[in-house]
Symmetry: C2
Subunit: 684 residues, 2 copies
């Protein structure tokens, strides 16, 4: 094989003597051809053991994932139902499928065994993730019923509530909804306008929608199926507001009729997920018994005394919001698995469809043999693997914290941050990957039968629900800046600015978790030009050092900028506004480092073999892709020379060519049931 | 107003002494506060004259655009029809609206007056673009009927065909389709598998689908409404293949029944545009008269002799494909105008919705007062203006070429290239903008009533139809590399590689159109550090010089890499595959330069005044955004220092803050009818 890049520059005319653009890696005289490099390095194409790779991806929950795969194939008709049924019919169909799947135990794995659950949070996350291979209305309906509604009863309620509701909600006999968001308040839950006032005379709470934009909105299961709502409202006891609490409020009778004082409106057609009945709810003086307060963390005595073991009201609030963590872990995993479906279809199509004569005049070229097509799809495939393994880590942490295996406050906070960050990157990855894959499948990708229509429309809101991605990254940054200080969760934006600026900047920097990691970084990236020759681009220590350096630098930069703004007597809100994109960038840098660490650790732990070689290629492709996409930053901060920046782009091209012959096996290893790939006019 | 960025770095601890990340512009000691800079430069907030700005945007076709706005408001119910009707009902509704709009003259402006048209191509493009404010099934149905079908009859047919069809198709009485694409061949039209064989005995053509993947596919109007298809097929005369030609083939009788030998299948549900009836067509020995050949450029005599004034078969083919140019101009404009709807909604929502306390403890902050939100939306607004003016240029060129005002071959080729490039950038811009705007509107953005669902689903295929964007950018690059040589259109990828490599590289570079522009570039970007201090970031000569330099450098790099690959005896297809991302990058750089030139020229031509000040801010924001997004490349090629790269990011932040108070007026100037903004739960 010749190499267009590996030639001398001596014949280049004077007007074009510079190196070639990095988007188009060029030659340096000392560069060898790929073939030479491969021969010298002993590189040869690995033969992937697909079942073994699937087993690695499935991890400890292979059995659970296979149960879900079987169920998905069993109910494959739901994909066409989504297209052919009316909205009402499809909502009923989705509900039925959810209830039938519940009977297999698939959806109740996270609940205590005494109520019919599986008693294993990790298994419940694995089941949910795998469900994302199929129709996503089913996925989201499961999330609403068992994750949000069921999770709130389980985690915010006490035994009394568990006894009353869990057994029936696990089977789907009792459907409920999670009524947190209001039209006027999504991310800022603390400012909700729904109020629950304790009436000591009747020992009841009176739930009221106090203004129009305080109506509950976008609530899944509300428009049609929920009998019960877990309602988040400002608790008022004896004229004092105690902050947001959760209450069990019946909203429908068994016949589906709306109860007195409750008004429900359908949110109507949505971009996607039309098998889920989202709606709006207004409460007009709805009375519920005192015991309807989900009282695990706070209670009101019959005589009207508010009691809680958590004294700080903000802390109490954020403890209750902890119920959202599992939802975030699940949504992130759902997004990543939806991306797998898209990339599997696009790769398989690119291995079937030919277009234009290129290397031969007799036959058109396979799409995946075009360099650009490789560049479009294969880094996304590598990122999908990386995020899969990062997701495995956060799901494991969730399991440990929720199951009481890990009990430290710090671990809980780190979990919240990691769940937020993985959710943000995983769902953005889904949006981007599905879009690129649709375009890479041309006009056929636009037909509903080929899956992208549903994947794109259904996953679109993943970047918003269970926490807007930008708000979640701010949460990540706040945790980093305060080193998950005991009160970090209470801090709103003003509070964060004040907190940070009350510390010496050095303290902030020393407190950052990443700071400890920097010793190795200094060895690997000593600055100047020296390191430039030393570390190999395919050395994962080098790749990690780059991401660690960036994270630490961005984070300390944020701290300094916040502090300086305050020193200059600026309004803290304005300081925050101006530093905000820096805050988001720092959080993203942090999460990208965690993702790479997860992938590297997974690869290193593997026994030597073909699969390890293949995954190492993918891991390198992922790592260099992350560095390349922010190479301007690295150059601006003296950690990447022009020559090395171009070398990275060249290496990515070379890695794509090496991954190309492995691509089919790599997507097969996801083990997406063929019925879920569907795509008759792409793959048929 | 204080400035968080303008402080000394003396107090910075040693571990963090570098400049701050560019994503978060930092201080340099000499930097003044915005307020000081603004005072010294005489900057003050301009007061936009919205009607005057609308008049500027509408240009010479204000009257036409207002007619369309009136029609859109008249038929505003179509937006809800799209949600509430069944697919069959909605298809009929869309057809009816198209026919009713036709009766206003809106859709026939590009046809000769003698057949009832308006005789003004430019007006027809303006009408089409404006129609993109409304339901996009209507837009696309109009495009299929009047642009593709009608355009083929007009441009490929002779008077006989005009007399037979134009009057009826202009009124919509005769519906037709444009049957070019096949399941197995989209971009590579030259390889179509449908064959039309001349039977001298009966003086008929026999049209046949020769293999399964040669069925016509994704054909708009085919599934339901077309009586007639313009079918692109390989013409065979006397045993010899003469290449692809277009034929008029009746496919349905007046009652809608499929004619003998024709089989039609519905493409079924699509991601969007479900008011358009796309379908598949198979032909089994369908006989059509000899006169059914659209014979403007080639004909077959009764006795079976093939005749054409264009000798080169490839040239002939590409001349016929010229009918696609108008479609590309229209789709690009449609995408840009759909993006206007999205950005108008997102900006207006961000000026209404508050979230989190930031600068005040009493009131939550408007979304658009957050730095990040400004950074997300305002550069997209600036890009939308830039693309609008670039679209105006290409639409003007189309008018001049099609109306015979401009007749040179070179102008035609440049038009083809510019139409391809503007279509690619305009439609990608639509995809990106609609996505960002949806996310910026949170969960409410997911509800169908708030427009993004339809905008996103309907525009998605714009990046694919009328030419896949990547393939179109390759066309642009080919034109640049060959300086629109007389035979450049014939060149497939192999041919292009050979063509380029047969020239001396210097010749290629000298031939590039951009090369002539480089003298000014050398003055402005002399290299080294000197220029770094000299040119102001807000100097449009500097901005243009940067884009011209990049374009020329990328283009000559492509030429060199192609040539070197051949010199090294690589397979030309493999050379092309490896250089392909570089080819695409060069083409994109070219089009971005054209877009900026169009915006700069428009602003410079304006009389001094408030609107000019406002547009200059937007133009700077656009220009620096383009440079920033490729700043790694400029650093890698010695045309941007680290300090200046960071200064650009800072300047963008500052420009966003200046554009922020103008944003409402800037989106109002698009004059999107309020009925088309809709969005009751965002703006109501």
């Amino acid at each position: 094989m010749g190499n267009v890049e590996g030639m001398s520059t001596e014949t280049v005319p004077p007007t074009a003597a510079e190196d070639l653009p990095s988007t188009a890696p060029a030659a340096t005289p000392q560069q060898d051809t790929d073939a030479e490099v491969e021969e010298r390095s002993g590189y040869r194409r690995p033969a992937i053991d697909v079942p073994a790779l699937t087993a690695l991806l499935d991890g400890k929950y292979a059995e659970v994932r296979n149960l879900v795969r079987t169920n998905l194939a069993e109910y494959a008709g739901i994909l066409t139902d989504a297209e052919e049924m009316t909205r009402d019919e499809f909502r009923e169909r989705v509900k039925d499928v959810v209830v039938e799947m519940a009977s297999t135990g698939q959806t109740g794995m996270g609940f205590p065994e005494e109520y019919g659950g599986g008693g294993d949070i990790g298994a419940s996350v694995a089941a949910f993730e795998t469900l994302a291979y199929g129709d996503l209305s089913v996925l989201v309906k499961v999330g609403v019923q068992f994750g949000l509604f069921g999770g709130a009863i389980l985690q915010l309620g006490s035994k009394e509530h568990h006894d009353a509701y869990l057994a029936d909600l696990i089977t789907g006999k009792l459907m409920g909804c999670f009524a947190m968001t209001e039209s006027g308040h999504g991310s800022n839950v603390q400012a909700l306008g729904t109020v629950a006032t304790y009436d000591v005379a009747t020992q009841e709470f009176v739930v009221t929608t106090t203004r129009e934009d305080a109506r509950k909105d976008y609530i899944g299961n509300a428009a049609k199926h929920a009998e019960i709502a877990v309602v988040f409202a400002q608790l008022e006891v004896a004229g004092k507001s105690e902050g947001v609490h959760a209450f069990v409020v019946p909203i429908r009778d068994r016949d589906g009729g709306t109860l007195p004082g409750v008004r429900i409106e359908d949110d109507g057609l949505k971009m996607g997920l039309n098998g889920v009945d989202n709606g709006r709810i207004w409460f007009d003086g709805v009375r519920i018994p005192r015991t309807a307060l989900l009282n695990r963390f706070a209670d009101v005595t019959p005589s009207g005394v508010y009691e809680s073991e958590i004294e700080n009201p903000n802390r109490r609030f954020f403890t209750m919001l902890g119920t959202l963590v599992q939802g975030r872990v699940c949504v992130g995993g759902g997004g990543i698995n939806a991306a797998k479906v898209a990339i599997a279809i696009a790769v398989k199509y690119a291995l079937k469809r030919r277009q234009f004569e290129a290397t031969s005049e007799d036959e058109e070229e396979l799409l995946l043999d075009y360099g650009l097509h490789q560049r479009r799809l294969l880094p996304l495939l590598a990122d999908t693997y990386a995020l899969h393994f990062a997701q495995e880590v956060v799901a494991g942490q969730l399991h440990d914290v929720t199951s009481g295996i890990e009990t430290s406050e710090h671990a809980k906070r780190e979990l919240e941050s990691r769940a937020a960050g993985t959710k943000a990157l995983g769902t953005w990855h889904a949006t981007r990957t599905i879009q690129e894959c649709r375009e890479a499948c041309g006009g056929a990708g636009y037909l509903a039968e080929n899956r992208f229509a549903a994947l794109k429309a259904d996953t679109d809101v993943f970047t918003t629900f269970e926490g807007d991605n930008h708000v979640l990254l701010q949460l990540v940054a706040k945790g980093l800046l305060t080193d998950y200080a005991s009160d970090f969760e209470d801090l709103d934006q003003l509070g964060t600015v004040r907190f940070v600026t009350n510390l010496a900047v050095e303290t902030v920097i020393e407190k950052t978790a990443v700071h400890k990691l920097l010793e190795r970084v200094k060895d690997l990236l000593p600055g100047g030009d020296q390191w430039d020759q030393e570390a190999g681009l395919l050395d994962s220590d080098y790749q990690l050092a780059m991401l660690r350096f960036r994270e630490e630098h961005m984070l300390s930069g944020v701290a300094r900028r916040l502090k300086r703004g305050i020193d200059q007597k600026m309004n803290p809100g304005e300081v925050f506004s101006r530093v905000q994109d820096h805050v988001i960038a720092a959080a993203r840098a942090h999460v990208e480092r965690l993702v790479l660490e997860a992938f590297v650790a997974k690869v290193e732990a593997l026994p030597d073999g073909e699969n390890k070689i293949a995954l190492r290629l993918l891991c390198d492709l992922h790592a260099l892709g992350v560095i390349e996409s922010d190479r301007a930053w690295f150059m601006e901060h003296g950690r990447l020379s022009v020559a090395r920046s171009k070398a990275i782009s060249r290496e990515i091209g070379s890695l794509c060519r090496k991954v190309r012959p492995l691509a089919d096996d790599l997507v097969d290893a996801f083990a997406v049931p063929p019925e879920m790939l569907r795509s008759p006019s792409l793959l048929g």
